[in-house]
């Protein structure tokens, strides 16, 4: 049974692909209703299969560590693109703890989001098309996580990019949506160019795309060579891992490439939900984890990953405090949480002086993956809840809401669990994974990162409960009529409370199983008992502050606070003006600084030179025409002169 499941594991991908093709090519024109049902059915079977394969993987591989010490299984691998007789890119399915975890997350969330969309997108003119694109998105992301080699990952990576482009710009008549889609694609594409360079560099020196080969110790040793460039010394391992990481940098929207993510809110809310939880943005973290054995050989790379992650975690949380758009707050919170996942990976590097072992902390890796897992569910729910609210209120501004608790009780209680989870309150799932991350950075000796993580945790609790109180508590600040809860939408939201509350039970499983075999347990670390208490207290402080400022839906205190720090507030509210920097780069440098001059040079200098050649030829023609003037006397004269000169020359 298990073997049958493994050989047919491609079916997990085949269902969404089938859904995309069938709906996209004809079903959407026949009947939008049937399209939705078809998409829901395929998403269900994909989920069923994903769960079955995960179960089989657990029974066959994880439970038998002697048979599978590496915990990996390649279900199939077929040659796809052959470059040279030795360098071939395959298409395969690669199962290991993190890919199986992602299969579970993606298939479950896709199913729930598809279900939710039936309610949310009702009456939209592109109802059928939406489900086709949603299926394509799930397919691409599933392909990405099961990739057996880095080129396959790049293929699906790009497909994820293009699916997000079509979904963010789903309402194609809305200029802001179209612009956001373009921005998302181009910024991630910019990062992808470096990713591609990294792939090319690695494949050239190693001669393979396969993860198993790339992550081996021999590869690291092979790449660990330095080049002298003038006064620079470049380590090839560092260079190539940084280039590959650049791809993840853009996809996971780390500072300063984060600007596309808040704008991507222009897409329909179910799309935001799936982008922020299961697909797209976690791809960058996933890539880092997938290539972790190689990345971890370069301390510079790990250090950079840690810095970028920690900085983005704090930076995004600060911005989130000031935002008013319900979805943008969540977008910045995603950025912040992605920062956690990345700095955790970077914090695997142990700088604590007397620690034996490989110098890498296995908990950091497990904690990061654990946070990917828990975050997916509560973030998905937050977005779905936000969508339900927008659907009911027809507004995005949280300052215009308030008092929704009585009108939307199911959403209220569900979102409360999610806010508690993301705020890191015991015993909700976010508490466990964040605790593991903080513990890992403490264990590895990164105290500064630990402090940043702890502080950001408090900030997170603050802005999430600001969000929560302003929406649900107090009196309604605008005219709310006809607010209701649609069961297509509330059922998925309520189902998501199960993992949001219960995923904490899996902590031991993640720490022991979702790890790399090469990393040894660091045994002389105890779990300091003050850490969970401290983390919880920080979270509770954030919540209390939020209650102090925004509890009961009052805004006066916050407003007066805002007035006192007006200039600072404006800088933060405008997201530190990073978008304006980008506008400057594209408009003034690329368009006006390069594009226009190239256009001008081409028309006037290059083409001018060609025209000059033509002019010179015409001039020559005119000179010859002067000789060929048709007057007999002139010809006769020339003939005589020529004859006479010949006579003289002949002598």
């Amino acid at each position: 049974m298990a073997d049958w499941l493994f050989t047919h594991s491609y079916l997990i991908l085949a269902f969404p692909l089938l859904s995309f093709l069938v709906i996209g090519l004809f079903l959407q024109r026949v009947s939008p209703e049937k399209s939705a049902r078809f998409a829901l059915g395929t998403a269900f079977f994909s989920m069923l299969f994903g769960v079955a394969v995960s179960g089989a993987y657990y029974v066959k591989v994880l439970a038998q560590p002697l048979l599978y010490p590496e915990r990996t299984l390649i279900c199939f691998d077929v040659a796809w693109l052959n470059f040279t007789p030795i360098l071939t890119a395959n298409m395969g399915i690669y199962l290991d703890p993190i890919s199986v975890m992602m299969i579970l997350v993606i298939t479950i969330i896709s199913f729930l989001v598809t279900c939710y969309s039936i309610g949310y997108m009702k009456g939209d003119s592109g109802f059928g098309r939406f489900f086709a694109l949603l299926s394509l998105f799930s397919f691409s992301m599933l392909g990405l996580v099961v990739s057996s080699n880095i080129l396959q990952m790049f293929v699906f990576w790009e497909l994820v990019g293009v699916s997000s482009y079509t979904l963010i710009g789903f309402w194609y008549e809305k200029p802001s949506a179209v612009a956001a889609a373009k921005k998302a694609f181009i910024i991630t594409r910019f990062a992808d160019a470096f990713f591609l360079l990294g792939i090319l560099a690695v494949s050239f020196y190693v001669g393979s795309f396969d993860f198993q080969k790339l992550n081996s110790i021999e590869t690291a040793a092979l790449l660990n060579q330095s080049f002298q460039f003038g006064s620079f010394t470049i380590n090839l391992l560092t260079l190539s891992t940084l280039l590959i990481f650049a791809g993840g940098w853009g996809k996971s929207a780390m500072f300063p490439l984060h600007v596309w993510l808040p704008d991507a809110m222009e897409g329909p809310t179910p799309v935001s939900s799936i982008i922020h939880s299961a697909t797209m943005v976690v791809a960058g973290v996933y890539l880092t984890a997938r290539m972790f054995p190689l990345f971890s050989q370069s301390l510079t790379t790990l250090w950079l990953i840690q810095c970028v992650g920690a900085f983005t975690a704090l930076f995004a949380a600060v911005i989130a405090v000031t935002q008013r758009d319900i979805k943008r707050i969540l977008a910045f919170s995603t950025l912040s949480q992605l920062g956690y996942m990345l700095f955790s990976l970077g914090a695997a590097q142990v700088i604590y002086p007397d620690v034996p072992g490989s110098g890498l902390n296995p908990l950091a890796y497990s904690a990061s993956m654990y946070h990917v897992f828990t975050h997916a569910f509560f973030k998905c729910m937050l977005f779905l809840g936000a969508g339900a609210i927008i659907h009911a209120v027809h507004d995005n501004d949280i300052l215009a809401m308030g008092g929704l608790k009585a009108l939307m009780p199911k959403t209220y209680w569900s979102l409360l669990t999610a806010c508690l989870a993301i705020g890191g309150i015991f015993p909700f799932s976010g508490f466990w994974s964040k605790d593991a991350i903080l513990l890992a950075s403490l264990q590895s000796g990164h105290y500064f990162t630990f402090m940043v993580g702890l502080f950001t945790g408090g900030l997170t609790a603050f802005y999430m409960f600001r969000f929560f109180f302003l929406i649900f508590h107090g009196k309604a600040r605008s005219d709310l009529h006809n607010v209701h809860e649609d069961p297509w939408m509330t059922v998925p939201i309520m189902l998501l409370t199960i993992p949001t509350i219960g995923a904490g039970l899996l902590e031991q499983f993640f720490v022991s199983q979702v790890t790399l075999p090469g990393l040894q347990e660091i045994s002389n670390f105890s779990h300091p008992s003050w850490l969970p208490v401290l983390a919880s207290l920080t979270g509770l402080t954030g919540i209390s502050l939020a209650w102090f400022f925004y509890g009961k839906g009052r805004l006066e205190k916050a407003e007066s606070f805002k007035r006192d720090f007006r200039s600072l507030y404006n800088v933060v509210y405008n997201k530190f003006y990073i978008d304006e920097v980008y506008l400057f780069i594209t408009r003034k440098i690329i368009f006006a600084g390069i594009g226009s001059p190239v256009k001008w040079i081409d028309r006037h200098i290059v083409d001018g030179a060609m025209n000059l050649c033509g002019e010179i030829l015409q001039l020559g023609g005119r000179l010859v025409r002067f000789l060929q003037n048709g007057q007999l006397q002139f010809y006769l004269g020339i003939t005589i002169i020529g004859f006479v000169s010949l006579l003289f020359l002949g002598k």
Partner: protein, 503 residues
């Protein structure tokens, strides 16, 4: 079917179509078009047959990997002009077969796309068929003299086709295009005659010439002549300026054929005549040409960013993408050569579709200025989605042909560890970002956004118009998803050329 006979039939058939069209009455447009369509449909079937047969034959030859002589199948040789030892010498290898397949697909689609031509339709289709005959002729020729002859047959009808049926500054564009290409031809002719006399063999046979070790001093001047001569047609910088003007003025089918197939003759000649016959010359000059084509790649992309006319955008993107063809060749590695060949095929399909769609859009909106359009998705979803897909193919999205070709080009260029190659590779890879910028900018302002009032009544593609679009989309996806068989074929043909290059 008998191979050599099939080859001859394929290039003769367009001439026959042209001849059959002559007695048809001027006004009987339908008959003229149907003759062309049916004739080229038969030819398409013949070329597909040829390809299938060829796959069967090529699989049996395994010694190819070590050989440094191109293995032409279905060879047939008969003396033609004995004094100079010119022969009618034909045969095909995988590159020629694939190029012929590309030609057959593009011309078939092009004829459907020019169904609306009313003005002097008879002359239009006659010239179109003569042009195609020349293209097929180049691909089947082994004899350099006949190759050149067919090359000229292919290039010259373009002058009339653009000058008479074009739009805008058509006389200027036609004149410019023809003069620049003919100047290139002069270079080529000088190079070919040089090869003929220098070899001392008194032959124009490609394979015989390839085994001659020409002196370095000869190759030093002959190689750039040939490479630049063909390079003009491949839009090598700075001799690309005919391309924007020419493509912008040409009628739809001519743009399709010109960008889709004719520009490939340039790359084909650079590889087959330049690099295959003069490997040492190639080594001497490669860095110069590498820099030129890297400029091509970036410059074309940046040039496209600021254009406003759809055809100019596509023309500049062609400059960039054809630059990648030569970029693959100048990497001087096996994968690079292969990537160049794949890029020729991919770009051919892609630009043909691009120009085809532009023609259809222009036929409806009567403008090609991007900023004057918008929201076409609402009224013509079919054409708009096709436009998005071909745009994505242009920016190298995996699952479309562009990625397969570009991946090979980049892997190939990275396989050459010289510093200048590294620098140029990095620059060329970064060009994919610029490509994304202009493609998305064009697509967004064309199909997305609010629709203009005057376009509300436009209708989507008719069933006949859908045919070429679907065929070309099918090919783009086919090559992008299952590239295996094409790569196998190209491998076989590239090995001898590469081995000769490394001799």
């Amino acid at each position: 079917m008998n191979g050599p006979f099939l080859l001859t039939l394929i290039w003769v058939l367009p001439f026959i179509i042209a001849l059959v069209t002559i007695p048809v009455h001027q006004e009987n447009h339908l008959r003229i078009k149907v003759i062309s369509l049916l004739g080229n449909f038969v030819n398409l079937i013949l070329v597909i047959l040829l390809t299938i047969q060829f796959i069967g034959v090529s699989n049996t030859s395994s010694t190819v990997q070590e050989s440094n002589v191109s293995l032409f199948q279905y060879g047939y040789k008969v003396a033609w002009f004995t004094i100079m030892n010119i022969e009618y010498n034909i045969g095909v290898d995988a590159i020629s077969v694939l190029m012929m397949l590309l030609t057959a697909i593009v011309i078939f689609c092009g004829i459907i796309a020019s169904w609306e031509v009313e003005k002097q339709a008879k002359e239009f289709f006659i010239l179109l068929n003569v042009l195609v005959a020349g293209v097929y002729g180049v691909f089947v020729s082994i004899d350099l003299f006949t190759l050149f002859l067919f090359y000229e047959i292919a290039v010259l009808p373009m002058y009339l086709l653009i000058g008479l049926w074009g739009t805008g500054r058509k006389e200027y564009a036609a004149m410019k295009l023809t003069l620049m290409l003919v100047a290139g031809s002069a270079f080529i002719l000088a190079g070919i005659l040089g090869l003929y006399f220098e070899s001392g063999l008194n032959t124009f046979d490609l394979n015989q010439l390839s085994q001659v070790r020409f002196s370095d001093s000869f190759q030093y001047w002959a190689f750039p002549l040939v490479f630049l001569g063909f390079g003009v047609l491949g839009a090598i910088f700075p001799f690309h300026t005919w391309s924007p003007d020419g493509h912008a003025s040409a009628p739809t089918a001519v743009s399709m054929l010109h960008a889709g197939v004719l520009m490939k003759l340039g790359g084909y000649g650079c590889l087959r005549v330049g690099m295959y016959l003069m490997p040492e010359g190639a080594h001497m000059w490669m860095n110069v040409f590498l820099v030129l084509v890297t400029i091509n790649v970036l410059y074309g992309a940046f040039g496209a960013i600021r254009q406003t006319d759809l055809k100019y955008i596509t023309a500049y993107s062609s400059v960039s993408h054809c630059g990648l063809v030569l970029f693959g060749f100048t990497a001087m590695t096996f994968t690079g050569l292969k990537g160049g060949v794949l890029q020729m095929i991919s770009h051919g399909l892609m630009t043909a579709l691009f120009f085809c769609l532009i023609g259809m859009v222009y036929g409806r909106t009567h403008t090609r200025t991007v900023s004057e359009m918008g929201g076409l998705m609402k009224v013509m979803p079919f054409l708009s989605i096709a436009f998005i897909i071909v745009g994505l193919a242009g920016l190298g999205l995996p699952s479309l042909s562009g990625f397969v070709a570009e991946a090979n080009v980049f892997v190939g260029s990275f396989a050459n560890p010289a510093l200048i190659n590294r620098v140029c590779s990095v620059l060329a890879v970064l060009s994919i970002v610029v490509t994304a910028v202009y493609v998305l900018r064009t697509v967004n302002s064309l199909v997305n956004g609010p629709i203009r009032k005057q376009y509300n009544t436009l209708i989507d593609a008719s069933p006949l118009e859908k045919v070429p679009v679907i065929i070309l989309l099918f090919c783009l996806f086919g090559m992008g998803i299952l590239p295996g068989w094409i790569i196998e074929l190209v491998n076989g043909a590239v090995h001898p050329i590469f081995n000769n290059l490394m001799r």
